[in-house]
């Protein structure tokens, strides 16, 4: 999960992923479209690959990289736990503020 975040935290990698959304592409193509040097692209693809975000398929001397859904699905699942809350008031600050105040007051329980 956090591996996915790390991988996507890098701007170029995020772009690569978005670029691959449409269809798999060979390294050179990616480099060209994003105006990056080939070696860096290979390195980024390595990271994305390690994170499982991407998979390769060799065709002659080129390597076609395509997206893998799994990590994104996991990301989706991870978000689920938040979706529940954010509808019925994500910020029930008020409620908590009071509770917190109580807890904090336990310390000064001199007038109990």
């Amino acid at each position: 999960m956090q591996a996915t975040f790390s991988a996507l935290a890098e701007p170029n990698r995020l772009q690569i992923v978005q670029l691959l959304r449409r269809k798999p592409l060979p390294v050179g193509e990616i480099a060209a479209r994003l105006d990056l040097r080939q070696p860096q692209v290979s390195k980024h693809l390595r990271v994305l690959s390690d994170a499982g975000l991407v998979e390769v398929r060799p065709v002659a001397q080129q390597r076609i990289y395509g997206l893998r859904a799994q990590p994104l699905k996991e990301l989706d699942a991870w978000l689920e736990q938040f979706r529940r809350s954010w509808d019925d008031r994500f910020d029930r600050f008020d409620a908590v503020l009071r509770a917190q105040k109580e807890t904090g007051e336990k310390r000064n329980a001199r007038n109990t």
Copy 2:
């Protein structure tokens, strides 16, 4: 978007976010539960705050941090563009492989 990824790429920050999912908490509480030093927690909260993932509410001398839904919603929206694809075959490699081959062959068009 990428700001969100960066913020969540750090393990402790990811934990903080998950911890705050239930309810807002003061800094000290966060530090205690995650077994982190207070200064580091403050720093992480700063980053999360800059990313809009978190918001503060001062109560006496403590500061209660709570989650903000917006960035997560954006993340959700971002995922949308992938959800479309990943059902109907994310990896239409085969299709592309052929197309790619053609394109690649243009160069060697000796037998045309």
